[in-house]
Symmetry: C2
Subunit: 392 residues, 2 copies
């Protein structure tokens, strides 16, 4: 269902960008899977496989003979050709038949999600095209692949909303479990048991999902929960997401462990938390189609630095989809590693996180990660934004 | 543990092949993971990351700041450098320091397992190297990466043996479940419940693991089990594997469903099955270090055709490791899609399947898939080879 939906969407996008022909070329997808394959087939492919979609609406697949049945079953292709010895003849025959002026391939320096073609497969493709005189027609499919991933269909948005609902429920449940004396690892295990009970998948590697950080001097983000114990006076933060029907949630929440005699967070913690909330909402209010991500990032970054904190050493927010980090356009600063991503225009139905962060010295990390969808005239929260620090 | 073991092994292999420096260059490994990363890190990496191993025994990693802690934890690197804005400066500084005459990168037309570098990342690497005058030092790391994957350590062989043991036990269990009237899907579900009960992973996509085919006119290999019902007189075959500590088994077994009054398989089925057994054992007997895979493939292929059957439309056997299809050297015919794989010399401690196949008209498919390890003077079975058709 999703595959027919996305293949149809792809034809419209090829027309919009005036790209004659788009080829996804892959082999042994268990080993080196082009991330675009998830929109083109519903199972692994084994040998050299070409999924060829044209601006005039044709969808043609050439795959090893044993993969024909499962590709046909998607119902998305006009024709599925199987081969035994090699792809060369059926591939060159079909390209000569359709004779496309431009041929878009899945490579990109600036966007990993559009960069599924391996260099060895690129060399093979170039050899196949050179033999039929089409070498100079090759272009990057980055714009097309980005649009296919980024413009979420109603089916895709529904799955993301459902993944967020589960995450929020699990954050609520764990709030009753956190207390002084439990370890980061015990908190993570509590949540993982709940994920398994709900028969959900983790949005990223389970060893770091959730990531849990309690108190000052924690490991940096992207690290598994440790044996460190929750103590009174700690700020505790978590990064957590699940997958529903292949689509992710990705959210962070901040907790404060009340010290003896406290009924609310002390002023230093409250100031840090309130700064993060303001950064989230000021950035949110500026999102609309046509804006560029670096403009949104700067708003949140300036809220944090204006309050006297160091700026966060990462982008404000990334897109979410089949991966927790998905899409090309990014709410990020113009740093080398982000290439042109912060300069791509925002579009309706892109799904972003907003996740500023700051350190409260001697306490821990305040960070919130919300999820939003770009709408016609602004943005909508997909998550229920955290406005109060969760008191334990 | 495995990572230190494999990084050390890599240094020896670089010395053996006289390769000065080997760089694995990847980003967002959840999205486009170079399959070699499993030997270099124990968790996902996020931004541009370079794992640089040299012939003189240095192991240096440059990764995004948030990934530093988990890479350091492997204990395999002399130094792990973290960056915030981009990899360019620390990468170029280190390359200038070690100044390697040859730089091997993970790309290969002929071997997908050595082809983890995407084309976009290749372009980025080339740009980084051009800026420091090292463009012309680039070579393919195919030989090194193949050797690292293919020469199984004792730890790796132990995991594979354990995965085989589980597979064989589950084949035994399902033999008591198969009977006329059950569907392919019910048989698969029975086995999957057992895999989950044992807390194992599937060796490939669970939708096709096991693959179950009963009777004549089944879907071809690489297709999920259907609602087709087992009937008396059917030949039934299955393809199944599990993972233990990241290492796979991959095995096939053939069953015959006795018809009324039968106490053994009828002559046409018995002849087909015995032909497969002979093909397996004749091929097995010919395996030794230094032989080439096409020589082994031809022996089994000729047993099948000499008995009057069509030749199987696939290679006789592939290597097994972290993926069910692993390694470069292949027991296969010299077909286009296999490139130079059938001409690579076999080496000690490579693990192969042997899996000939033939159709018994009107009955079904006879196929056995055994697993063997290449030894100093021959080969050893890792699986207990099937010598009798399993009668139901």
């Amino acid at each position: 269902m999703l595959i027919k939906e996305k293949v149809n969407q792809a034809v419209g996008i090829l027309q919009e960008f005036d790209v004659d022909c788009w080829i996804t070329f892959a082999r042994e997808s268990q080993i080196n899977g082009d991330p675009t394959l998830a929109f083109l087939v519903s199972s692994d492919i084994t040998w050299h496989s070409a999924f060829i979609i044209t601006k005039d609406g044709r969808a043609h697949a050439i795959v090893g003979r044993y993969d024909v049945a499962s590709v046909e079953e998607t119902g998305a292709y006009d024709e599925v050709v199987g081969f035994v010895e090699g792809i060369r003849v059926p591939f060159q025959d079909y390209l000569k038949e359709i004779n496309p002026p431009k041929i878009a391939l899945n490579y990109s320096e600036g966007s990993e999600i559009c960069d599924g073609l391996t260099h060895g497969m690129y060399l093979t493709m170039l050899r196949l095209l050179t033999e039929i005189g089409m070498t100079d027609r090759v272009i990057s499919a980055e714009r097309c692949v980005s649009a296919i991933r980024e413009r979420k269909s109603p089916t895709e948005l529904k799955s993301i909303r459902e993944a967020i609902r589960h995450s929020e429920e699990i954050f609520d449940l764990v709030s009753g479990f956190i207390k002084p004396g439990v370890t980061e690892r015990e908190i993570a295990e509590f949540m993982q048991v709940e994920v398994n009970r709900r028969e959900l998948e983790f949005a990223w590697d389970a060893a770091q999902c959730p990531a849990v950080f309690t108190g000052p001097d924690t490991a940096e983000a992207h690290y598994g929960p440790s044996a460190k114990t929750v103590e009174k006076g700690h700020v505790l933060n978590m990064d957590f997401g699940v997958k529903v029907d292949g689509y992710c949630s990705d959210m962070q929440r901040t907790f404060y462990i009340l010290d003896d005699g406290e009924t609310q967070a002390p002023p230093d913690v409250q100031k840090g938390f309130d700064t993060i909330v303001k950064a989230v909402h000021d950035a949110f209010a500026a999102i609309r189609p046509g804006k560029q991500g670096h403009e949104i990032d700067r708003i949140a970054r300036e809220v944090v630095t204006a309050a006297g904190y160091d700026e966060f050493p990462h982008g404000l927010g990334h897109q979410v989809g089949r991966f927790s980090h998905d899409g090309t356009a990014l709410l990020g600063p113009p740093w080398e590693k982000y290439a042109r991503k912060p300069f791509q225009a925002l579009e309706e139905n892109m799904v972003f996180t907003i996740e500023p962060r700051l350190t409260v010295q001697g306490r821990g990390i305040c960070t919130i990660e919300e999820m939003v969808v770009v709408a016609r005239d602004g943005a909508e929260f997909l998550s229920h934004p955290q406005r109060e620090i969760i008191l334990i």
